[in-house]
């Protein structure tokens, strides 16, 4: 048993990031509500952001923070467009269940 280090090992942060990402994937695959699926995508993006900030700390460079900033910008743009698409789908089909939006299937 190694002694408890002064500070947090980097693998803890990376492990937390991996765990949050897998929870996001689980929600993305298992949930059927289109809004919840969208929120799980945001959860996955956040998990990756945590990895970026951790590596910025490891390399002592600010580039990781810049990447996180761009991910946030793209996520905001994606949320605006995605929610507009959800509004349009609901207007046309009056459902939020992704099983019922299947006109591309046949």
């Amino acid at each position: 048993m190694p002694p408890i280090p002064n500070g947090v090992p980097m693998s803890f942060y990376l492990g937390l990031s991996a765990l949050l990402f897998v929870i996001g994937v689980a929600g993305f695959v298992l949930r059927r509500n289109i809004i919840t699926v969208f929120m799980c995508i945001e959860l996955m993006l956040n998990a990756v952001n945590l990895s970026f900030v951790t590596f910025a700390n490891y390399h002592k460079q600010v580039a990781g923070h810049i990447f996180t900033f761009f991910v946030m910008v793209v996520a905001a743009a994606e949320a605006a467009v995605g929610l507009a698409i959800i509004l349009t789908v609901f207007k046309n089909r009056t459902t939020l269940n992704i099983d019922e939006v299947d006109s591309l299937k046949n």
Binding site: L19, A56, V62
Partner: protein
């Protein structure tokens, strides 16, 4: 020791809220849990020395993006989700595949940097608004400007999609 304590508290909150996002039946409960995940991640960013990113996380994610989500949930009056039978593939392979993904990700990330030094609060102070802004307006000026075009297109797309009357 304080670092480890703060990490343990907020990592636990983040994981519990994330599990709650997936397990809750009602979208509004999922959205509020997601706010919890983002707020605790902001604290972890502060521990990692990312002051600017932590504040941006609170303002952009927990503020703007989640308000947009909650607006849409209220606008559409989204209710409790209807459960149906799943395909047998998802039932049998779903959980083992996810655990396998977690195992591979965790193994790679932990083993990649075996000699990484422990992260102490205050070791890295390059994440201030000044440093981030300087990098953004010198080295990363072109991507930053392209971002403004992306946001403009996103705004136009959202307006067009929301106004559109389809048959």
């Amino acid at each position: 020791m304080m670092d480890l304590l703060f990490f343990a508290i907020f990592a636990t909150v983040a994981v519990l809220c994330a599990i709650n996002v997936v397990l809750q039946k009602h979208p509004i409960s999922s959205a509020l849990s997601l706010v919890g995940v983002m707020a605790s991640l902001a604290v972890l960013y502060l521990l990692l020395g990312g002051e600017f990113i932590a504040m941006a996380q609170i303002i952009v994610y927990a503020g703007a993006v989640m308000v947009l989500f909650i607006f849409v949930i209220m606008l559409l009056n989204a209710g409790i989700e209807v459960r149906r039978g799943r395909s047998w593939m998802a039932t049998i392979f779903g959980v083992p595949a996810l655990l396998g993904l977690l195992g591979v990700l965790g193994y790679l990330l932990v083993r990649w940097f075996p000699d990484a030094p422990a992260i102490k609060f205050g070791d890295f102070t390059g994440g201030t608004a000044k440093e981030v802004g300087y990098a953004l307006f010198t080295t990363y000026l072109l991507p930053f400007e392209v971002t403004s075009v992306l946001i403009l297109i996103a705004i136009l797309g959202a307006v067009v999609l929301a106004r559109k009357e389809l048959d």
